[in-house]
């Protein structure tokens, strides 16, 4: 298998009028991964995607996709689900999917379209007009449109926005299945929990600048403060001052302890076992949300469009 990166951005900038949308971005996306673009709305995710798709040409720098550095349109081996998406309302689902597959160079789109319609449980809707679809069904059809040509690289801009939990899981599984079959997936989301759950690697972008990128596990290992989640029997409190612990916070599950350094956990464990009956002891990796807050800091938390507000409830515990 070709190990060269499937997408490579070298010092890429793009400006719209006075606004610098993407600022000297360097990025290398390996094949066969799910790569998340995360950051608040307006941070440059969509512009970067559009440059990878050749919808925009960069002002400076080079965008190499599937080994090619130039082009007027996206390669037929690249599938795209834009954030602003829609389909011809008066065409039937089957016909519109065949049409979009043909625009991606598929000579006989029938079997693939039928297969995907079946895979996402949309058979009953296949011959209905697009304007008769429910919102969730419409989203699924849009997703099929992006992947029906069997692309090597799929770019999904906010693919899960507005989905109900059932369809969300269905599409997440479909994205994982694509990766497992060797397709590279780039997806953008402002939902940190989704990124953390699905992505192998992430690019964190803020105001057009790269804040962070790399494999998720590595990022979470090397960023943020090490924490412990503990609970003692009979709701026994944890003392405020423990050696190796800088902060103690009470929550529903018990107590969260911030360690001065990761290696202190052994010492803390010993101390807690001495204190009483230890029911729960867990080393907690920082969530992407925590890491972003730590990096972007106060500035990001004051940004009204920041995901910090929109994802205040993103409390999926980062348990490892």
């Amino acid at each position: 298998m070709n190990q060269a990166p499937i997408v490579e951005l070298a010092d890429v900038s793009k400006r719209f009028g006075r606004q610098l949308a993407v600022d000297h971005l360097n990025l290398s996306i390996p094949r066969g991964s799910i790569y998340g673009f995360i950051g608040p709305n307006g941070s440059g995710k969509t512009t970067t995607m559009r440059m990878i798709l050749r919808i925009y040409q960069p002002d400076t720098g080079r965008v190499t996709v599937l080994g090619q550095a130039t082009g007027e349109t996206a390669d037929d081996r690249v599938g795209y689900l834009p954030e602003e998406r829609g389909l011809y309302p008066r065409m039937t689902v089957r016909r519109v999917l065949r049409y979009l597959a043909r625009l991606k160079g598929v000579r006989d789109p029938r079997p693939r379209v039928d297969q995907w319609i079946n895979r996402l449980g949309a058979d009953a809707w296949a011959d209905k007009r697009v304007d008769q679809l429910s919102k969730g069904m419409g989203q699924k059809i849009q997703f099929i449109a992006a992947v029906v040509a069997d692309p090597e690289l799929v770019i999904l801009d906010e693919p899960f926005s507005g989905l109900d939990p059932v369809n969300l899981n269905l599409l997440r599984d479909a994205v994982r299945e694509l990766r497992d079959r060797g397709t590279t997936v780039i997806l953008s989301t402002h939902d940190m929990a989704v990124a953390q759950d699905l992505c192998d690697a992430v690019l964190m972008i803020y105001r057009g600048q790269k804040v962070l990128d790399g494999p998720l596990a590595e990022i979470r290992r090397s960023h943020g403060e090490p924490r412990l989640r503990v609970r003692l029997a009979h709701d026994q409190p944890v003392p405020e001052h423990l050696p190796g612990v800088s902060q103690v916070e009470r929550n529903e599950a018990g107590f969260d302890l911030t360690l001065t350094e990761p290696s202190a956990k052994r010492q803390v464990l010993q101390r807690l076992m001495d204190l009483g009956d230890l029911e729960h002891f867990e080393f907690v990796r920082p969530s992407l949300h925590d890491i972003f807050v730590a990096i972007a800091g106060a500035e990001a938390s004051h940004n009204p469009t920041s995901f910090i507000e929109s994802n205040g409830q993103a409390t999926t515990p980062a348990v490892q």
Binding site: E72, T73, R85, P89, L100, R102, Q142, A145
Partner: protein, 453 residues
Amino acid sequence: MGKVLWVAHREYTAMIATKAFLITLVMMPIFMLGGVVLMPALQRIEGSKIRQIMVVDGTGRFREPLEMAAAERSAVVDSKLAAAQAAQDGPADDEDRTGFGNMDSLDRYALTFYPEKSLTAEQRLEFGNKIREGELYALVEIPTDLMQASQEDPPVARFVSNDAVLSDARRWLADVLQRVVRQDRLRELGLDPLVVAQTEGPVPLEPTRPYERAADGSIAPNSPQESMTAIFLPFGLMMLMFMVIFLAAQPMMESALEEKSQRISEVLLGSVSPTQLMAGKLIGNVAASLVIFAIYGLGGFFLLKRWDLLSLLPPSLMAWFLAFQLAAVLLFSSVFLVIGASVSQLKEAQSLLMPIWMMMVAPLMVWFFALRDPNGILATVFSFFPPSAPMMIILRLATGAAVPWWQPWLALALLLVTTAIVVWLAGNIYRASLLRGDTARNFIQLLSRARAA
């Protein structure tokens, strides 16, 4: 190229398969030629009524001629209705011209003659009430001194009905009265009405086209020019051009607007470039315009064939028509496409469309002058103004006048150059507009997008 053709294919099917398109295709000629086409049909719906008319003949001279004329009219109406029934044909043929003028309605008149020579004011009021209530259609009062010629203050006959001004019966009666009075006056002067009619017979002056040398070398007198060739053919072809352009350009704007408002544009841009998208849409549009041309053209062909007038439509005229149609559709469709892609709602497009419409329909305002003088200044100027050239050139060529040979070529060349520039500009604006959420409010904003692209 494959992608462009798929875009074209979708555009073409989306355009000709819509209900709106089919309805417009049918309704346009009806609106354009509505009066002519609909009149016989409406007449048939109206049917034939019997109108009760009360005649107060002060002279006592009109009973016989009026009764004869009414009977004659009834016979004509009967034969017409029978013919229409048999042939399912419009009853308004030329042979309907009878002694009492062109018959607009199919009504028969039942005349009743009042025993007295004049009416009192009370009687007049009574008849008036009957007319208002619909019991009687009209009252005709012929004064006793109507036959006396050369008076200072000529006597006036009176026709009373609810629709007196527009009434066919009034015209018919006036014809009959005049005929009778005229014959009577001639006899009084000792002149034979037949002789007078002969002296007053019309002198025919036949409108003829300029002579041409026939294929066998002889210079044969040319066929007389009829109103068909002189007016209807040029006007009809000009309107056909208008309809084809209108029917092609309007959906182009709606299609671009739909892709924008339904947020389809970016989905497409993931696969095709704006240039490919626009090229495909224009090709599909031109193909659909050829279908319109074929449908109306075949319709016209069979009509002309039926009337045996096919010789009026030389192939060269059709070739010119097609060449101008293709260029014009490209020109207007690309402008409409860009307008559709530059606004977010149909109503915002109106202010941008207005000047385009004005340019396009300009020939409709001067067509009659151009028809009277196909090589005049007005006609020539409009021919070299590219947006109005297609309609104007076709109008001029269809008159059969000797338009200088270079003029259609120059007009076509100017049109093609303009089309090329506009399509190029439109491509740039389209590219810049597709992913923009804002609306261009005027042409300056629109053109500034071309520079930004």
